[in-house]
Structures are given as C-alpha cells and as structure tokens.
C-alpha cells in the first residue's frame, strides 16, 4: 500500500457517506478538529476532504464524501464516491471501514444508500445523527435491536452539539479491526448469475477485471455513468450482452431499474418493523407552519423580496459606520508611516502603493463579512431550498430549473463557490448555462465598487424615518441588475448553444432549523480570510505594479522638494490645522443632526434660521483660517500640478492616454480606463488602483479623507469634474456586467474542462459591459438634463 501522507503510515482509512444535509461535514469537523485539509480529486470537480483523529492510541484517516441519495453514479463526479468506497481511487487508497451518517428523523429514505453501502461488505458503522430532531418528532428508535439485526454498530449522535463523539470514535476504531462482512442478500439468484456472466464477458472482450459490485451496478443503472465508461473498450459486443442480460432479467420478473428501489425499500420496511415507531398522526411541525406562509402565493413572494431587501439594507446600516472607522484608521496609518519616512520612492511605494491600494480594499471587510453572514444564515436555516422552490417556475421560463437557483444565489457572495455548486445540477446543458451566467450575479467583489460610487456621488436621502435610504436602494438595484441581464442571456444560450428540454426538478425540502453559529461563523471566517488573503497577495502585487507604472520613469526630485516644504509648513501651521479640522467636524455635526427638511419647511423656519446663523458663523471662522493657511494651500497647489504632470508622463499615464479614446464614450477619463484594465485579475482592484492613482497623481489637500473625496475633486484638464452621477452609473454598470475576475475564469475552465468557455465568458461579458456602460452613461445624462430642465 502506497501511503501519500507519510506521518500517517499506521492510520486506517475510513470513508464518511450519507444523504445530503445529514451532518456529515459537521461530524467530520467535530471528529477531526483542526486536522483536516481540503483538496480536489484529480480530473473531476469533487471536493476532496481528508482529516484524521487519534483515539485510544489508534489513528484514523477520514474521507468526507459528497452527500448523495444513492450510490448509482450518473456522472463522473458521482463516480468518485463509488471509486473511493471500492478502494479504486489511487490518491485515497483502500478503505478499511465506512461510516454511514443518517438523519434519524428521516431514517427510511436515509437507509436506502446505507443498504447500497452494506452490499460492499466493508465493516460499517451506522450513525443516527439528528437524534434530537427525531426525539422532538416523537420518533422512537431502538438502536440496540437495529444493531443486532444489521450486525453492525449503531450509534445515536448529535453532531452539532458534539454529543456521543467518543462513542462514534470507538465505533470507528472497533470497526477497523473487523473482517469483511457478508452483505445481506436482497437480489434473486438469477441476478447474481447474470452479473457473474457479465463479469466474465468483460474479462474476455474488454480485458478488464472489474469487481462484481461494479458489474451489479452496471446491470442496474440504465443509462448511468458506468454504462458510458465501462463499455468503451468494446462497445458493440459488451452493450449487446448488457442489453440481453437485462432483458433476461425482465422476463424472470426482475425488471431493472425498478427492481432495486423495490427490493431495497422492502428490505428497509422489514428491518425497521418493531425497531422504529413513528407517531400515527404526524404532529404539525414548525416547518409546516412556516412553509404555509413562506411558500404562499402572495406572502411567500413578498417574504422573499423583503428578505433580500432587508439583507442589503442592514448591510448598509451596519457596515457604513464600520467602514468610516476603517477609513480613518487607514488614513492615520498612512500619515504615521509617512511621518516616519523621508519623502522618496520608498515612502511613496508604501504610502501611495501599499496603504492606499490594499488599505482601500480592506476597508470593505465589514461588508464582505456581513454579506457572507447572511448567505450562510439563509443556507443553514433551510431557506435557500425554499427559494429554489419558489423560483423554479420562473427559472423554467428561461429553460433552467430551480436547481440553478441556489448556485446562482450563492454567486451573489462569490461566483467561485457558486460555479462549484453547479455540480448538483445533473443536466449538463443546464449546468453549462448556469456556469456561464453565474459571473453576472453581483458578487461581493463588486460591492466595494458600488459602494464607493454610491457613497461618493449619490445624495444621502432617506425615507420612512431613516429606515429606507437612497444608498441602500441603489445598492439593491445594482446588486440585482446583473441578475436581470442574465435572464435574456440564459434564454439565448438555452435557445442556441445549449438547446435541450427543461430538466427535472426533484428536490428535498429540508426542515427549517436554527442556523448553527459554529457552521455559519466558520463559513464567514473562511470567506473573509480568503478575501484578506487576496488583498494581501493578488491585490498587493497589482498595487505595487500600478504604483511602479505610475511612478516611473519620471524625475520626482522637484516633487520631493515640495513635499519637504509641505511637511515644514504643516509643522508651522499645526495649531491652525487643528482648529480647522475641529471647526469642520462641528459644521458636519450641525448638518447631520438636522433632519432633511421635506415639506414642513414653513412651520419649522425658526430652527432653520438659527442653524443658518450658526453655519454662517462657522464659515466665517473657516474663511479666516484659510487666509492664514494660504501659503500651505499654494504649496499643495504646486504639488498637485507637479504630480499631475509626473503621472501623465509615467508609463501608466502614457498608456492611459493611448487608450483614452476607447473609454471616452463611456464618460471615463484615462485614469478610470487604466484602473479598469488593471482590475482584470479581480474587480475590487479598481478601488485599490484608483486609490494609488489619486494618491500619487495629486488632487489632494490637507482635508483629503480617503478615496471618496479624491474622486469628488478629480477634474478634466479643462476643470470640469470627471465624476458625476452618469459617470458613476457607467462605472457601476460596467462592473456589474464585466468578467474582471481571473479566478472565476480559471474555475470556469476547470469546471467545463475547456479554455474556450472561459474565453467565451470573458468576451461576451466584456462586450455586454461596454455596451451597458455606454447606455447607462448616456441615458443617465439625458435623464438628468431632462429632469433638470422641466
């Protein structure tokens, strides 16, 4: 036996299998703790999850398999589980025992796959998970009697509360010592007879030595994966034999495929007789009540829209102050580092390149965490499956099924897990279409772009006592914009490249439950750390690259001299500067405390007049300070002029000028154009790039509070501001539709096994983005002049 993990020579290998959503991964994590790692099986898109634990001096290696209702493989991906169990998966090796995890509250159907596993003859442990749910429903199970009948260990367990874990560990260790079992024989003698004959035929014609288990599966799974894969070497002869064998079985009263479900469920009924008692009248559960509302014709759809809106509104309410806090922190770190280093390339690299670039993106960490938190909550409480149920009919309108809905929904967090989640879609054409439109869903990497534009260029207006804000509405609209565009795209793809029937929709609706904090937090942590890692690697590298391209090859000596002078002047005027910032924040506070006067202006004119007087007083003081600070302003002015020229002369500037004609129709200046090009690796890079460009390229004064104000003060050479609502819209629409994400394209390549599809996605999305941005720019501009004139 060749063991890939050297430190685990003596470990036994145990596979974990069971229906979806029964707690396999929960039990896996509870048993192995930190000792796990996630990879991928070669050639397929199945996640390979390995872990190990030690108990009573024995070490065990666990393999977590994807959840499945049955071991009859319908695709290469589903074949992996069968191969692992049969010890045919080279990178896992032979299996010593199997742990079958079942949902005790739904044992009958869960035992179907167990009965298929038992046929393998491997030592097996049966875990009755979700014991608490079964008890709640008044279901009584006698594990001791069940163990006696099955001749294997049967262990009740509550994985999410980490109860009975030691019993499970002991059961696994003991099972590993046991010899092979003789499986319960459900099938008639003729079936085994046919299987043996077919096995010999495969030796003769295909020169393959196949385990009898695979041959039996081949016989049973009409049109399954095995039929396609195994008969390849000698299709004609072997297929005729297979068909003949199935026909003989049918005449002998053993018609495949129907016979398998009939026999297995019959066996389960008999097995559970006297072992399990289910209350006669199924008590009305919370799930029933909830479902009556949440899948209701009217209330269900309303609840769905409301849930989605609440998610975005709360992200905006909670995250905005947090973001401000981060921004101020970033500014302070930049100032602090700047004060430590002398003006020069190194300081510029760190302050303008790294802190302005990477910091600019880390500011969005609170939003990302919240977004993932909500998606994880919705998934874990069971609502996502309802969303699929609600949306199926709509999805069939474009030729997809509700099954595509969940991957598309999780693409709102990130297209990568979304695209990987399309593995649950059995129909290949549907899966392809879902993969190709998944990047149109608004992922979390777009949020920073929207956020920046919305916060900087849309007024803070609120209605309904501050519960509904324009910012949240804009975020909501932008978030669903891509999804709306995806509808005609999906329809087109289904009508042209992937013509096929609407696929079936057979789905279990799991019971609602309280989301488990451990699982939810774990997922949020996983995603958040991936985000930070990306900021620390990919975005850091791009930031440095952008910085170099915009710093070189110009001569920065004159600029440095001015910077030194600015520093001196700032020291000289420190008390005035201090005073000025205090006055400014007082002014802001005054304005913020004042509710926006809507119609009631007439009755409340007195407080407004008082406010105006206060404001005038503050403004006068500010003007007075500004005259004192005039020398400093002049220095900043010089610096901005020099920097502007330096940036325009840099490699990046030259390149930007060169591409400007292409982006000009979208209302962009060359900096935005460069930013968009640089954000090919990841969308959020645009924020970092703009941060670096504006930090280097001037347009900053002593009031600069991060990127937002830098954008507001950016101008065209003739002094017109670059950014306006139409430009902001054009940028947002571009990012909503573009394919600026190298990792997504890579995942598409991997999942479709072809570069062509990644390229296709990139081309179609970029075209869409360009046209969309052009329309958005012109339409918004027109709308604004129109409403301005009337």
């Amino acid at each position: 036996m060749v063991e890939k993990v050297p430190s685990q020579h003596l470990a036994r290998t145990v596979a974990v299998i069971g229906n979806p959503n029964t707690g396999k991964s929960t039990l896996f994590s509870a048993l192995t703790g930190v000792h796990s790692r996630i990879g991928n099986y070669p050639g397929v898109t199945v996640e390979k999850k390995l872990g190990w634990f030690e108990f009573e001096g024995q070490s065990v290696r666990l393999v977590d398999l994807p959840g499945t209702y049955s071991l009859s493989p319908r695709s290469i991906d589903e074949m992996v589980s069968v191969d692992v169990l049969l010890g045919r998966q080279p990178d896992v090796g032979p299996i010593d025992a199997v742990v079958c995890i079942t949902d005790a509250s739904n044992l009958e159907r869960n035992l179907y796959v167990v009965s298929q596993v038992l046929d393998l003859g491997l030592p097996t442990v049966l875990v009755l998970n979700m014991w608490d749910v079964a008890v709640d429903r008044g279901i009584q199970i006698d594990p001791v009697e069940l163990a006696r009948r099955l001749e294997i260990a049967v262990i009740p367990c509550e994985a999410h509360r980490r109860r009975q874990l030691d019993e499970v560990r002991r059961g696994i260790i003991q099972a590993c010592q046991l010899p092979q079992r003789t499986p319960p024989d459900l099938f008639p003698q003729t079936f085994h007879e046919e299987a043996r004959q077919l096995q010999t035929a495969f030796q003769q014609f295909g020169n393959q030595n196949l385990p009898i288990y695979l041959i039996e599966r081949l016989l049973l799974d009409v049109g399954g994966q095995l039929e396609t894969a195994l008969t390849k070497p000698n299709p004609a002869e072997l297929l005729t034999r297979l068909k003949a064998a199935r026909e003989r079985l049918a005449t002998a009263g053993c018609r495949v495929p129907g016979i398998e479900a009939k026999l297995r469920y019959g066996w389960i009924k008999q097995l559970m007789q006297g072992v399990m008692t289910v209350p006669d009248k199924r008590p009305a559960t919370v799930t029933d009540t909830l479902d009556r509302w949440l899948t209701h014709k009217f209330w269900g759809l309303l609840a769905f829209c409301l849930t989605m809106f609440l998610v975005f509104q709360s992200i905006s309410t909670v995250a905005e102050p947090l973001m401000k806090f981060f921004e101020v922190g970033q500014k302070q770190v930049g100032g602090w580092v700047g004060s430590l280093l002398a003006p020069g390339p190194l300081r510029s690299l760190i302050v303008d390149g790294v802190i302005a670039g990477v910091g600019g993106i880390l500011v969005f960490l609170p939003q990302i965490c919240l977004l993932f938190l909500f998606i994880a909550l919705l998934e874990d409480c069971g609502y996502m499956a309802r969303a699929a149920f609600l949306m199926d009919k709509l999805m069939t309108k474009v030729g997809l099924s509700g099954k595509s809905f969940v991957p598309l929904m999780s693409s709102f967090a990130c297209a990568i897990p979304g695209i990987m989640a399309t593995r649950t879609i059995e129909n290949r054409r549907d899966r392809m279409v879902t993969i190709l439109i998944a990047p149109l869903m608004s992922c979390s990497a777009r949020a920073p772009v929207y956020w920046l534009m919305v916060a900087a260029f849309f007024p803070t207006v609120s209605w309904a006592g501050g519960w509904v804000t324009l910012h949240a509405i804009m975020m909501f609209v932008m978030t669903f914009f891509g999804a709306v565009v995806a509808i005609p795209i999906a329809w087109l793809l289904k009508k042209t490249l992937f013509k096929s029937e609407t696929p079936p929709f057979v789905m279990e609706l799991p019971a609602y439950k309280w989301p488990s904090p451990g699982i939810v937090l774990h997922r949020v942590f996983d995603r958040a750390s991936a985000f930070v890692l990306r900021a620390g690697t990919l975005i850091l590298a791009t930031s440095i690259l952008i910085w170099s391209a915009s710093y070189f090859p110009s001569d920065h000596r004159a600029e440095q001299q001015v910077l030194v002078q600015i520093q001196q002047a700032e020291d000289q005027f420190s008390s005035q500067l201090e005073q000025k910032s205090q006055l400014r924040s007082r002014r802001e506070l005054l304005l913020e405390d004042q509710p926006v006067p809507v119609q009631s202006a007439a009755e409340s004119s007195a407080p407004i007049e008082a406010l105006a007087a206060q404001l005038a007083e503050l403004d006068a003081q500010l003007a007075e300070l500004d005259t004192q600070l005039q020398p400093l302003h002049e220095l900043f002015e010089t610096r901005n002029q020099i920097s502007e020229r330096l940036l325009a002369d840099s490699y990046l500037g030259r390149f930007g000028k060169w591409i400007e004609p292409v982006v000009k129709p979208l209302g962009w200046d060359w900096r935005i154009g460069v930013g968009v090009l640089a954000s090919f690796p990841a969308r959020e890079v645009i924020v970092a790039t703009l941060g670096t460009i504006y930090s280097l390229g001037g347009d900053v004064d002593e009031n600069s509070q991060g990127l937002q104000s830098a954008l507001k003060s950016a101008t065209w050479p003739d002094g017109r501001p670059v950014y306006s609502i139409p430009v902001a819209m054009s940028i947002m629409v571009f990012f909503a539709l573009c394919a600026q994400c190298a990792s997504t394209l890579m995942v598409i390549r991997r999942e479709t096994n072809h570069w062509g599809w990644a390229l296709f996605t990139f081309v179609y999305m970029t075209l869409l983005a360009y046209i969309g941005a052009w329309i958005a720019f012109n339409a918004t501009g027109w709308l604004m002049t129109f409403s301005g004139n009337s």
């Binding site: 495929p257 709509l394 069939t396 079936p504 929709f505």
Partner: protein
Amino acid sequence: MTLDELQIGQIASIVEVSGQDGIAIRLMEMGLTDGEEIQLIGFAPLGDPIEFLVRSYRLSLRKAEAKRVTVLAR
C-alpha cells in the same frame, strides 16, 4: 390518476413510476415505490413545482415529473 391531479391535502398510494430513464430511477430512489403513501401538501406560488409528503419527508416535484407517477387516490 397521476400525482399532479391530487388536491391539496389529499393522500394517495403509489401504483407505479413509468419510464426507465434517469428521472424514473431518481424518483424511485427518493422512495416513490409502489404501495407507498404520498400526500400533496401544496403548490409553489406560481403553480409549479408541487410539494409532497412521502416517507415523512418533504419532496418537491414539478408537474412534468409528477405526471409520471400513477397513484390510487383514497
């Protein structure tokens, strides 16, 4: 009659699942075997898919799939 013709709340027993393709196999694997009781719980807001209770769990099927299951209403 077939499964999609049941009324809300009506219970029937399954007679057979027609066809031998992947969909038929999947339906049988999910526990739709002859003699088994099945109850229609409700329709999705847009009329399709349909929610059923079978072997004490909730299964959602589209009309097209439900049509393939012959049942005997009680």
